[in-house]
């Protein structure tokens, strides 16, 4: 029924190899450079040669791109000083060279073990992303795993021109466990996986318009969606932000008091919740559209 490896099960390097044209990926600051975190060493935590971020030049569909992937398994893909500096550098290079930048996000946000350095790096990267956007250089975030894009990386992902998600991807700021601790199990039961996914998962994000594409959980589907977006960009404009302001106001007004995610789905045109829950990628999108 399924064929080929699932994107959410691949490692960062496998994802890059699967997205890039064969043999086109040239890694920047590759593992032999041994740029490892001085923070983790001193804390007695294993380090990694890429500090949890693989970056480089590549081609997708013959088009030059800068391509990066976070390693979710390594300290939750979190952003430390080196990891963050690589990220900033890559988007700066993209802006400088006017080459699109694709970032496969898999991160809980700032790496706590490295304190505020990662936080500043995320802020710096946001500046670099907007540099790209000002120059009409496309920036694309891919969010396709349950580690997803959270904390500062969740916010950062919304700064990019486009977000490509799968049903396995999650996008947010505060994770379910944090909210449960804060508001109590009644407000958010983090062990209720269905609720967690309907709160932050790709399908809900796609319905609300926060994800630009919802694709099958496979490298081919992700690559096709990315390739389509490489020719587009969405520079910030007054008209654009005014429209977005209205849209977000409307969303808040419609659903601000809604506890049940199914009500949001219904409100966004999904008629058969059960079928939509089981559907994947474009099939889900079609079901939602048909509902409209």
């Amino acid at each position: 029924m399924t064929s080929g490896p699932l994107f959410h099960e691949q490692t960062a390097r496998q994802r890059i190899a699967a997205l890039a044209d064969t043999g086109s990926f040239a890694e920047l600051l590759p593992p032999p450079e041994r740029l490892t975190s001085p923070y983790l060493v001193q804390l007695g935590i294993p380090v990694s040669f890429d500090d949890g971020l693989v970056i480089g030049r590549a081609k997708i569909g013959g088009k030059k791109v800068y391509l990066a992937a976070q390693v979710g398994q390594f300290v939750g893909g979190a952003v430390g000083e080196i990891h963050g500096a690589k990220l900033t550098g890559l988007f700066k290079a993209a802006a400088r060279d006017r080459v699109p930048c694709v970032l496969i996000i898999e991160s809980g946000g700032v790496r706590l073990h490295e304190g505020s350095a990662g936080e500043i790096a995320i802020a710096e990267t946001m500046r670099a992303i907007f540099e790209c956007r000002a120059k009409k250089v496309p920036t694309i975030a891919v969010i396709a795993t349950d580690i997803g894009a959270y904390g500062g990386m969740g916010i950062l992902s919304t700064c990019c021109d486009f977000r490509v998600m799968t049903e396995h991807g999650r996008l947010g700021i505060s994770g379910p466990i944090v909210i449960e601790k804060w508001m109590g199990k009644k407000a958010y039961d983090s062990s209720n996986r269905a609720l967690v996914w309907k709160t932050s998962g790709g399908k809900t994000k796609y319905l609300l318009g926060d994800a630009d594409a919802l694709v099958h959980d496979g490298a081919d589907a992700v690559r096709d969606a990315v390739a389509k977006l490489l020719g587009k960009s969405s520079p910030v404009s007054l008209k654009g932000v005014k429209e977005r302001q209205k849209e977000l106001e409307k969303r808040l007004k419609r659903f601000g008091d809604t506890a049940d995610p199914d009500a949001v789905w219904k409100g966004m045109g999904v008629r058969n919740i059960e079928a939509a829950s089981l559907a994947s990628g474009p099939e889900f999108a079609a079901l939602a559209k048909r509902g409209k």
Binding site: P30, P32, G44, P46, S48, F49
Partner: protein, 107 residues
């Protein structure tokens, strides 16, 4: 953390490899990364450096690495491992994957 290094006798690596280095695996709970590099080392040994988060298993490590050096011509390479508690079977698997990448390239 426990750290150790040892060189194991191994037949020389093929003179031509697809890449100068290869990395397999990721550092994560129960997993490890293996960096395999070619060049600048005696051609009759495989030089290994291990950093592991679970101390006390040096004997298993050395046996697994020795077996690999014995079964694969990996002389002249440097193996560096960052480990976060991977079982030996994964050590073997990652070594093999890194070796395949090094010698044959990525698929």
């Amino acid at each position: 953390m426990e750290k150790f290094a040892k060189a194991f006798p191994s037949k020389p690596l093929p003179s031509k490899t697809a890449k100068p280095w290869a990395l397999a695996g990721v550092v994560g709970s129960g997993n490890l990364e293996v960096l395999l590099e070619r060049g600048g080392r005696p051609s009759g040994t495989m030089e290994c450096h291990v950093e592991t988060s679970i101390p006390g298993y040096k004997a298993s490590w050395l046996a697994a690495l020795a077996d690999f050096a014995h079964h694969y011509p990996a002389g002249g390479t440097k193996v560096t491992i960052n480990d976060q508690g991977a079982p030996p079977v994964l050590v073997n698997l990652r070594l093999r994957q890194a070796y395949d990448h090094l010698t044959k390239g990525d698929k």
